[in-house]
Amino acid sequence: MSYVLSGHVRDEIEHWKARFPEGRQRSAVISALHAIQHENHGYVTAEQMNAVAEYLDLPTIQVYEVATFYSMFQTEEVGRHNVAICTNISCMLRGADDIVEHVESKLGITTGESTGDGRIYLKKEEECLAACCGAPMMMVDHKYHENLTTDQVDEILDGLD
């Protein structure tokens, strides 16, 4: 059975299609995947990618390629809260590794995994999140938290439903 795009996602795709020249609807793929992933608790399925391809009249492989290339897209089921601890240089120099270790042992998972209750996805963060002066830092569901201590991390994570 094929997946049906929600009205919201279709609106979102139309919105982005309109921002690119006629016949360049492929440019809307990234935005479409963002919209679906947002609606689908943090990941996209092959059926959803097929639906995007069909809607935009593209070969499915072109959507698969995009979804698997960019680190912000997840193609496997993940926890509903996205926690990304920056481990790039500035953060590394200011104790990011200790924060990661603390979170991993607290949640009982390693980076790249989700908790068994589906609450938290501990994303592997690769690129610098550009909050170097507030290192160490993490991003939780699109919100930055800087100058982290393990106590603060506990408070933030415990506050997630």
């Binding site: 092959a46 070969p59 499915t60 492989i61 072109q62 698969y64 390629e65 698997t68 290339f69």
Partner: protein, 723 residues
């Protein structure tokens, strides 16, 4: 000197090059080999393998020859220490991940990586960490995958994007995890899909049916020609001890470039099908028994000799070779009959006197790409002639307006200018003809057909695109040729061409329609195209009347004959039917009285004249299966036995040479002139009149090729015909 020419130096030799040309084209042209994996002259430049690095004077880093445009005064060194060092360094990287499984890899012996590793590799790797391993995916019955061997050149990906227009393979993930595949398991199923086997420079994509069955160096390579459509794609058969192990393309820029259709590649499987007729058989009182060749031929000759000359019927197909046609036509002449025909698919022969003597496409195959506007009418061209479809796509990609008129809608993998459908073919073309006349008078032949017809916007668009193009052509396809109102269809198409200033031509059936016409395998035309004094019977009429003797030359009556309905039953009612055939089938067992085993295209020599009028002769490449004999030899003996004069040929070349000498100078012509006003077609234009033969049902070989029959395409077609 023109501004478009630059002077460069390749390894010390002065060379002229076109401005903007990539270095590798120039080095290739002068024979200065530069190693490469991703570069391919038919595909876009990817510049990703980094194998073709060369030294360019005054440039500090080595430059990729595939992506470096030539510039005036450039000095290039393809084999300097710096260039070789760079090439070797890339090679070392590629070999880190590539498995050392050459002994069990089908690519062994013809592997670009293996060849270059010998030239550029090290004996022992300095990287001893684990190699990258990738899980294989099933991409269908034609192509096997061993993706651990993949070096990510992306030729296969670009083939899908650029050549077929149906990208199914892609690169997913990134970095070291980047892999070539379909992501979700699916078969890669375009009619040209298996060309990725030849494109793949390593053993990642290989020929699945051929897998593990031979080594490249054990096989002999013989040139041959595809028997499946009017293109006559050039092939090489790779033969091991008389057995065809596989078929690969033989590059011919003017015909098939470096591609072949999947059915050209895999139909050879049918040569070794369990359906092969192994020795002559005769039916006596409803029971079949084997007989020897001598007895079988004597019986066939007796039947022919004792038959009333008006009651002899000779039926071939457009797969008949020039030589076979020449012999058959002479036998008919000797027996005093004109009941000879190869047009087993054609239902409407009412206007046959206006058929071209030497039918053709109306341009060369390569010239298709040079048109600005093309109307293809009555054709499922991807199934009828995949290479023609490919050329049409190239034209479209280059900006040509390609339109279709068909009562059914077929998928085309390019931007179709207009797709006229939703009505019968006659109606669709009448609309375009009216639009093309644009209020002016129509040719007299079609006035009645167009009476009361109004042109829609789409009809007008098509007519306008043809009229406004610098170079336009109207092409009729095989569905048109099999149409019950072919006369009307052809007259309308010709009228459209005339009114818009377009050329006119068409796809013919099988590999040798043109050759069969020239050889006189027609009831109304003798050899060379002259009209016979008295026309004989066409296929449908032969079957409708009681004959004393019918000879079927490589015809499968149930699948090949569309000219008449119930062909099998009607043949079964005939007094005596001799079938020359490579295969035995229920239909033949029912229809025939004597079966004579003949060789397939691989077991015989002969000549096909393709749709652009190119004569292509080929030799037999494989040992005969069972007691099968080449058809031309069977006909030669039969001719002798019926006392036809001059049947003392030694080789098929003798047959061809005699025919060619008799034919004299002749060139293709598609000129059509109607003999008068064509009557309004009533009720004969329903969609049911479209006879579309699926891609993998076109002939006896394809229908028996196991791998082709396992494809999704074949299964879909079967589901349609069953359901």
């Amino acid at each position: 000197m023109s501004d478009d020419i630059v002077n460069i130096e390749v390894d010390g030799e002065a060379v002229e090059a076109r401005r903007g040309q990539m270095l590798i084209e120039v080095t290739d042209a002068v024979g200065a080999y530069v190693p490469r994996f991703c570069y391919h002259d038919k595909l876009s430049v990817a510049a990703n393998c980094r194998m073709c690095l060369v030294e360019v004077e005054k440039v500090p880093k080595p430059m990729p020859a595939c992506a470096t445009p030539v510039g005036e005064g450039m000095k290039v060194f393809t084999k300097s220490p710096k260039a070789i060092a760079a090439q070797k360094a890339t090679m070392e990287f590629l070999l880190i991940n590539h498995p050392l499984d050459c002994p069990i890899c089908d690519q062994g012996g013809e592997c670009e990586l293996q060849d270059l590793a010998i030239g550029y590799g090290r004996d022992v790797s300095r990287y001893n960490d684990g190699k990258r391993v990738v899980k294989d995916k099933d991409i269908g019955p034609l192509v096997s995958t061993d993706m651990t061997r993949c070096i990510h050149c992306t030729r296969c990906v670009r083939f899908g994007e650029e050549i077929t227009g149906k990208p199914q393979l892609g690169t997913t993930d990134r970095g070291e995890n980047m892999k070539i595949g379909t992501y979700v398991e699916q078969s890669v199923d375009h009619e040209l899909s298996a060309n990725i086997i030849d494109l793949c420079p390593v053993g990642a994509l290989n020929n699945k049916p051929y897998r593990y069955s031979a080594r490249a160096w054990e096989m002999a390579q013989h040139a041959t020609v595809s028997p499946h459509d009017c293109v006559g794609s050039n092939l090489y058969a790779h033969v091991l001890r008389g057995t065809v192990k596989r078929i690969v393309p033989r590059a011919n820029e003017s015909i098939n470039e470096s591609w072949i259709a999947d059915r050209d590649r895999y139909s050879y499987e049918a040569i070794y099908s369990g359906d092969r007729l192994m020795r002559p058989r005769v039916k006596e009182n409803g029971a079949w028994r084997d007989v020897d060749w001598e007895g079988a031929l004597a019986q066939a000759a007796d039947v022919l000799k004792s038959a009333d000359q008006d009651k002899v019927a000779l039926i071939a197909t457009p797969a008949v070779t020039v030589e076979e046609g020449h012999l058959l036509s002479q036998i008919a002449d000797h027996l005093g009959t004109a009941n000879i025909d190869h047009r087993v698919g054609r239902r409407d022969v009412s206007d046959q006197d206006n058929d071209p003597m030497y039918p053709s496409l109306g341009c060369s195959i390569a010239e298709i790409e040079q048109h600005d506007a093309i109307l293809v009418a009555g054709s499922n061209v991807r199934a009828e002639a995949p290479i023609i479809a490919h050329r049409l796509r190239k034209a479209a990609v280059a900006g040509a307006a390609i339109s279709f008129a068909n009562s059914s809608v077929y998928e085309y993998l390019f931007d179709v200018a207009n797709y006229l459908s939703g009505a019968g073919l006659v109606e669709l073309l009448a609309g375009v003809a009216v639009a093309a006349a644009d209020g002016n008078s129509l040719p007299d032949s079609v006035t009645e057909l167009c009476d009361g017809v109004t042109a829609s916007g789409a009809h007008k668009d098509v007519a306008r695109s043809l009229a406004e193009a610098d170079r336009a052509i109207v092409l009729l396809g095989n569905i048109a040729g099999r149409h019950a109102s072919y006369t009307a269809v052809r007259a309308l198409a010709a009228a459209i061409a005339e009114l818009t200033g377009a050329s006119f031509g068409g796809l013919s059936e099988g590999p040798n329609s043109a050759g069969a016409c020239l050889a006189g395998v027609l009831p109304h035309r003798a050899q060379g195209g002259e009209n016979r004094v008295t026309a004989g019977l066409d296929v449908a009429s032969m079957l409708a009347q009681a004959m004393d003797a019918v000879v079927l030359v490589n015809v499968e009556p149930d699948a090949d004959i569309h000219a008449a309905t119930d062909a099998v039953a009607r043949l079964a009612e005939q007094a005596f039917v001799v079938a020359l055939t490579p295969f035995v089938s229920d239909a033949l067992l029912e229809a025939a009285d004597l079966l004579l085993p003949t060789g397939t295209f691989a077991e015989t020599s002969g000549t096909y004249v393709n749709v652009e009028g190119t004569w292509q002769s080929f030799s037999g490449v494989a040992s005969a299966v069972g007691e099968a004999r080449p058809t031309w030899k069977v006909l030669r003996v039969l001719g002798n036995l019926v006392d036809a004069p001059g049947f003392d040929y030694v080789t098929s070349v003798d047959v061809r040479d005699e025919f060619v000498a008799r034919l004299g100078e002749i060139s293709t012509s598609n000129a059509y002139e109607a003999s008068g006003r064509i009557a309004k077609v009533n009720g004969a234009d329903a969609p049911a009149n479209d006879i579309d033969i699926p891609l993998y049902s076109v002939d006896a070989l394809v229908r028996r090729a196991t791998a082709l029959q396992l494809t999704d395409e074949a299964q879909r077609a079967r589901a349609v015909s069953d359901g």
